[in-house]
Symmetry: none
DNA sequence: GTGGTCTAGACCACG
DNA sequence: GTGGTCTAGACCACG
């Protein structure tokens, strides 16, 4: 489920964060579901545990998961995800859309894409 | 017009690239228009010329501007912008939209935003 | 016939050289034919005469044209073109072909291209 | 393996790029193989690390290698090489061939060279 | 240890 | 004057 790409210039912990967010967004990981332990995931991905630890901490800061001492990390409910993350995404959405429209795509085409994305 | 944010984790040359792209996309910089010279902009922003040089080079690789040795850098036409940039933006658009929809925004709300963005 | 491209990173005198070589190679300029004077061509292309002068001198060094004092520059016969230019081209040919073959093109495909090039 | 020629008019980073491309094309460097670190190669060639860095970056942009921060640079697979590089080479191939044919070489001679190049 | 970024300063080709 | 190249040296993130 989590694929690391050595050709990807981004640091590994960011790739891990991105993969986990996508699994949550797609429903592959359900709210309240327990995530693999830091050590387990580090072993599976053949990665330094510190790297997974950092990804988990950052996702917890965003509200995507919440750690329970001695029990592990659990996927959060949508409502828990920080407003700051939403702002970041809305800014990115506007800027990306503006540039795509500048490059010749019509708002209707992009609208179409939106509905395709929302009904997978 | 170009604002650098020291709290922004991204490197300076990327912030410069982003600002310049936005100025082109918004029409504040017109196709064919001459940009400030590497040294002029470096002085204005109180940044090392090499850093501006790098931003200009990367924007040239994307097709956003074309340098003419001895003359200066000029904003390109939309048609000159590399297809790879478009793909990057479409991927970002889909992922950002998917996460926003997961966070509770409806496709219709995002559609509204699209049209707001396209008619400034 | 000679088109300068401001988007081309190469210096103008090289672009001029390249255009003139191509005109000779294609037969658009015949052996012995008189070329426009430095001043005439500079005016036509809206370029500094020094730039044309440099292109003419370099082409003369390669054997592509020979200047006649007080008369102008004339296109040379094939036999006059320097052996050094031929060596340069053969090296470039081998290297370019090797890389194309590495990238997956077959020698036969390239052979086909050769014959297409030779019968325009 | 990498030879720099001070008489060569091309900048050092391009000479380095050319040498590395040739090593990859010839198979002396295999896909996935690790290249010397930026600093190691800089020391070997008695060149500033920034110059090597630039060569590596440009080769990465072409798809010839991919850097992994903290790990090193690795030779890519053929499939990763950008299509733009292929177009550049095809243009160069056609022009070089056209000029060689103009200079008296027959397409058959060049065809022979192709097969010699492909079976080293 | 490795690549990524940045500064400071220099010289050159082009036109 | 302008962009292009190069050197020297520094600090940082990542793992």
């Amino acid at each position: 489920m989590i694929r690391l790409d050595s050709r990807d210039a981004r640091p590994i912990y960011e790739q891990v964060m991105d993969s986990l967010r996508r699994l949550v967004v797609s429903g592959a990981i359900q709210p309240g579901e327990k995530l693999p332990s830091v050590r387990a995931m580090a072993t599976t991905l053949a990665i330094n545990p510190n790297t997974i630890q950092r990804a988990y901490e950052s996702l917890a800061a965003e509200g995507y998961l919440h750690p329970v001492a001695g029990k592990g990390c659990f996927a959060a409910d949508r409502g828990d995800i920080q407003g700051r993350r939403r702002e970041t995404l809305l800014n990115r959405f506007d800027q990306t859309a503006a540039e795509l429209i500048f490059l010749g795509l019509s708002p209707d085409e992009l609208s179409h894409r939106l509905h395709a994305v929302s009904q997978p």
